[in-house]
Symmetry: C2
């Protein structure tokens, strides 16, 4: 009765794994990984912690499901687009999808690392691997080198996306509202910190310190993709 009077007309849409994961992603985006607790999640869903455990085994599965949901949406850029694109361009599209996802969800990078560390070849890696592998196959790479080439691509993408998500997260943290000003200020801070390093111990970093100012992460990321793709074609093209 009391519950009836609080939700008079329609009963609140029932709890479901889907709704829980969706709320978890929202909580991760807004308050960060440290803010995602079962109590906060329960309050967000107007329920108690116990109810959540009926749908989800524990926090590991919750984080895994949130990660997979975001990655699945990110990798899905491939099939719908015009199919006339070259395999290289499709690789860039998939890679950029993941890159943007890690930028939109700063928690994604570490969760990806954790997922891959816990269940390496289970949930999320095959999705990415498959998506990239199809393009490698569409290039002129002999079958014996499919695995190596696809692995190299995936490893670069995951490593770079993680690192760059960290950058934008830090930049956004420095000034609260993410903007170009904050980003430039962040890059200035990094550049200054690099120039202040010990010249004996870090000569190379000091030499490239000024290059970091005004650099575009996306552009940098794509340049790396191009570089790996060049390595694939140079090393595996027929006639080699």
């Amino acid at each position: 009765m009391a519950t009836r009077s609080r939700r008079p007309e329609r009963r609140q849409e029932p709890l479901s794994r889907e709704r829980i994961v969706e709320a978890a992603v929202e909580l991760l985006d807004t308050v960060g990984e440290r803010g995602l607790t079962f109590r906060a999640l329960a309050q967000h869903l107007s329920t108690g912690p116990g109810a959540i455990y009926w749908h989800i085994t524990g926090k590991d599965e919750l984080l895994g499901a949130a990660t997979e949901a975001v990655v699945a949406a990110a990798v899905a850029v491939e099939p719908s687009g015009r199919t006339a694109d070259s395999p290289e361009d499709t690789v860039r599209a998939v890679a950029l999808g993941l890159f943007d996802a890690t930028e939109a969800h700063p928690w994604l990078a570490m969760q990806l690392a954790m997922q891959l560390s816990r269940t390496p070849w289970a949930t999320v890696a095959p999705r990415i691997f498959e998506s990239l592998g199809r393009q490698v196959r569409a290039m002129d790479v002999p079958e014996a080198h499919w695995f190596t080439a696809t692995s190299a691509l995936m490893h670069y993408i995951l490593g770079a996306a993680g690192q760059n998500a960290a950058n934008s997260a830090s930049a956004a943290r420095a000034g609260l509202t993410g903007g170009d000003v904050d980003r430039d200020a962040f890059l200035d801070t990094v550049s200054a910190a690099w120039e202040a390093l010990d010249p004996e111990e870090y000569p190379f970093i000091r030499a490239v310190a000024n290059q970091v100012r005004g650099h575009d992460d996306r552009e940098q990321f794509l340049a790396g993709i191009t570089l790996v793709l060049a390595g694939i074609t140079a090393h595996h093209r027929p006639g080699h």
Copy 2:
């Protein structure tokens, strides 16, 4: 007095940041990240949790220091060796140092991701970046491309090392004592799981499923390094 009777002759060597970090690494290696608690660490050092906080600000710093200690030891392979090696070989040596470190310390991969996520260009990344950058400079890469080439190398290495550490950790977990038998069994499991995937959704993975059997992680890792190096030389060599 009671303490005197328990440690009769030499007073126990005093607590220090160094000793704490060393014990933390040991605890991480033996019981995993979930086993590293301040209580267990205190017991391991025959003290209480409060004493540790005099030397270390919190768990973040503890994990960061443990990560940096292990990485510093891993990257230190470069200077002592014979200097007649080619830059490419030195890159391989540095990369293998990190690869082996993540294999010896399965917790390292995720901690690296976390460190890079929290303080991106602070503690540990510059060390790796510097080590790789020197070799890139020693190759015939024009200065404008130093940053891109070094970044690509570092991203691939971190991504691949993390993924492969995950593999060996899972393989070791399947059978308790890590051995070739367990590893083969693990690869068989992965291969079988891949072949059982939906042919509609994962055609590529099914096609390479059998390639995974008997594959050597180190060899695979080095093949990726070679591939990225080939991309660097193909894309940045003079006359391009």
